[in-house]
Symmetry: D2
Subunit: 341 residues, 4 copies
């Protein structure tokens, strides 16, 4: 079995997990290169993963002859640049979401990618690869709930993450770009249409620091789709129960609810607090398997010369809607998505 | 123990249930009069309930000297008139929701009621009297979820009801006045504030006949409250699972979810369809006890000379927001509630 | 509508609840007499219920001409005597479970009752009247789970009750007679057969005081029925979660599980303890409606001249099996029920 | 990182899954040899897994110099022989459960293993490696439910498997050895004690063919442990809902319930059948990850020179209790386990 030689840029918390998957859990990958400006992160790649080629300079890594594909898990504001350079170096490229919080930048990356039609370029909306989400999607395609017309979806972090997020919020693109892009992608996926207009509202209900940073700790966006269907998307930073992320799809013949509660496992506790299930702490605990599967799928697509389901256009659309939400939240108005396109 | 002598106007499906409660299940009531234009309904009162005084003419009933209070369970477009006449006849009055789908009419009724300050006049938002909703309210007041800032609430009938509703929709005031007034009232109750602006969308996703009647089979309304909190309200007519009505309240320290699934009882079935709970068929199955309790509470208030929690002002506010939703749905715009007040 | 004139003997915790139901919630009852040796209990009947005839002496009460039926809610060791005297006085009689923990006494009561075939004599196994249990029974009769062959049933009190029970255990007949008679009755009801042999085991796992009193704080009994079906019954005194009582019926085509968790209502809490439901504190919280319905049913049977579903023979069989369990627990052996009959 | 060179004997349904795990999912394993008498099974190893050394004769495989460990996934009646020969060939050995349904044979294997103390020999009770079971075990060790004193555990296959099992039952050792060994092992693990006596009952409630084969389609065993604690174990072949396997552990301070319902994933369906979760089809669907983890753990133990948690003594105890259950079921008597030891 042929292995694809891959490099990774960015070895932060999430980058390390990608790198572990590429090293140990994905048979079709051979992680031969890693790039980071952090000595600690390169040490991790050297000692824990035994990655042979380590770089502090991204362009140096791209010169490595054997490389076939790059995983871009760098900071959000570097995604577009790293994708473009990888494409120009003749490589396939997978990038963590979001593509960019700038619509112009999204379009620029798409334009570059169009010049390299034989190279794959995808942005990873992992939830599409979670087994429960895939199962739901398949049931819907089989007609189990008739025609879907309403999606409710939320991405809410555990409260304990908030302190760390307060520092990070200014460089994150804001809660709509950082959290709701997932929900936007899922709503488009389940409803099979594009968003026409949005209204977003919310506030810093628990931690005023988010408001001071021009952001919020809970936001809600209502979306009208071009085909008349609708979605309501929540994002939050203050759930006490755990990483409280789920999606519900309502159709003419039934409803599917995916992932609520986000139980940590199959154990129920009966004690003085009631009959209860403990919930996952982080998005990683919830979507660990999806992260594995999406990377496997990307490598399989390379090896089979197949186009992945997710395209840069999906990434641009998600950014477009997230930006519409951001403006709606800032202005308090209904926003037509087309006006931003 | 003193019993309050009550009359009832309207003995349709719901009126019969009220009358049964007043006859058999509420100790402090003595149902001595009933009014209906239907011979069948009067027969019911005569033979099944043994109500001594029966009327075809509402004003005749109001002349009955012994009467102390009236239950108005007539058709929606008669509520205001029946309330006003009962007040003018010196009686306490309880009316089924909604007060009216006309804001002007709501104000008129309030003005009349203001002239009779010793007589109670309430509109019955029964969900506030459901044991689970009351429990949730109490927990919130005790601080269990911190400060509430988001309410999700929905009123969705079982699909089997739709055929009947299609005929009835034109006289119902529409889905926002008919269904969402409950959710509007609950959101106001839990958030402790008034709605500032709304955006409503939806459609006739399953039954085009609702669109032809200027209505919908599923609608969703997003509300911004004056204190910066928010709500999202759904109403629908096509749930396959049963009467799928529930409410969720999100606060800074936790979330309460009330009534989902609307299990018919405490039985779980494990069979070829999975591990499952069957759900209630109708709002009556779900809220039977609340209907009993709200009537009991009204009678207790009369006997104790106490003001009920629910006021005509609550009813007017609910109508105001339902009307804002209706206009938003019709025009596709964000609506400021104040503009209609 | 004719009302049956009833008296009650025993106004302890449970007696008060029966008396409230008979006074306020059951239309067909007229509670005209109450008997207790406790001044406080008679005061309750006098002031809160306005019962006209009060007695300290049971035989005096039985002389009251108007009386038609007696509710025996006295202490367990008085049930048999009180039933017999009521029958001899020409009255219908309803008794709280158990009939007696002596098989001989059960037979004696049956023999007396046989002399008064026109008077009803029943022992109240209330769970058969809980709406969820009735629903399960009906589904089984409709064939929903095929042929039932296994019952799991348990009666477990909340831990907070244990301190009080330690004092009471010696006069209670022991945990099998006091708790498991309910589960024995349900197993007989669902499986449609009599118990052939039992093995009981258990211990005082938390509170040694129960062992010192010759009892236990958790016991488990396995039953083989004469038709080859089987049951496993648990009783306990130390649940932290609440009154953790439920029943599961397994058949050839499916399984029904009734009442677990014993959620206090329809509210779910999402907080730092997880996604959870709070549970009922006591058997009264769980079975309040069943207590109402069983008393209503008894009165309806009187008025319609109909035989109730529950007979003294049911009560004797439950006692017989509870006694077999007790002996099995004491001796550590398998016990054939017939040997005790 | 060093890889352990392993061989496998038996490539039936379960053997194929083990072989896939060893080939693709376990980094520390190098599957270099496979043995089967079936040409189809060897073809699978050759083409799908590219195993370099294939054998029809087990003893020939054991001569392969490089081999370090053997996975025995052959038919149950070959386990003991294959373990012994692997040990004598100087290899570590992992065997699927059960060790044997003969207690004498268990002892013989233990005696042989005692001669090779540097070689690992374990029997795989996979449930101990399921993430939810491990989580429960850890919580118990942390004191979350106080002292455990009752285990309920069941292994029930989906009904659709029964037709296939009818043919296989005679060579399976019977339902206690084939199914309940898992539950016996879990009860010993959670209660920390050995079984003193058992009573087993059951029948062929749905498929008489099992009775004709001297077996049953549902059995229940009650166990008294030497420390006074207790367990009730069910095994069945006719669940309509899916593979309905779960375990409940009751302690003085709380209860843990593991794995019920055995939901196939995190999707809930709301439709005409109610609010429901679909359940897994087979034990593999439920315990796939546990099978991976137990094999990984075995290899880690080899590489770290560490003794696995599971020993041959655990396997012998499980067989001993399963045999006691079998005899109790056949004779209808209470059986002391010691009498068989």
């Amino acid at each position: 079995m042929k292995k694809t030689k891959v490099g990774i840029v960015g070895l932060g918390r999430l980058g390390k997990e990608y790198a572990r998957n590429l090293s140990f859990r994905i048979r079709s990958a051979d992680l031969i290169a890693a790039c980071s400006i952090s000595e600690e992160e390169l040490d991790f790649a050297r000692t824990e993963l035994e990655v042979p080629h380590l770089f502090k300079d991204y362009e140096e890594m791209l010169k490595l002859q054997e490389l076939e594909a790059i995983f871009v898990i760098s900071s959000t504001n570097k995604h577009a640049e790293h994708i473009v350079k990888a494409l120009q170096a003749g490589l396939h490229v997978y990038s963590e979401k979001p593509l960019s919080s700038s619509i112009e930048e999204c379009k620029m990356v798409e334009a570059v990618a169009a010049q390299y039609p034989k190279q794959l370029a995808v942005v990873g909306f992992v939830r599409r690869f979670d087994p429960s989400y895939r199962y739901a999607k398949q049931k819907i395609e089989e007609g189990a709930i008739g025609k879907p017309y309403l999606v409710r979806s939320q991405t809410i972090d555990k409260d304990t993450v908030a302190a760390w997020q307060i520092q990070y919020v200014k460089s994150s693109g804001g809660i709509f770009h950082d959290y709701n892009v997932h929900d936007i992608d899922l709503a488009r996926w389940f409803l099979g249409a594009e968003v026409e207009s949005v209204w977003s509202l919310g506030g810093a209900y628990k931690y005023p620091a988010f408001e001071e940073a021009g952001d919020a700790d809970h936001v809600m966006s209502t979306c009208r789709f071009e085909n008349g269907t609708m979605a309501v998307l929540n994002a939050g930073r203050t759930a006490m129960v755990g990483h409280d992320t789920y999606t519900e799809v309502v159709g003419t013949l039934g409803t599917l609810r995916i992932g609520r509660p986000a139980a940590v496992n199959r154990v129920e506790v009966y004690d003085q607090h009631g009959a209860r299930q403990e919930c996952v702490e982080t998005f990683w605990d919830r979507f660990e398997e999806a992260f594995l599967r999406i990377a496997e799928d990307f490598l399989t697509c390379i090896q089979e010369g197949r186009q992945p389901e997710l395209t840069l256009s999906d990434a641009r659309q998600a950014t477009l809607v997230a930006e519409a939400c951001t403006r709606s939240f800032q202005k308090g108005e209904l926003i037509k998505v087309k006006e931003l396109a």
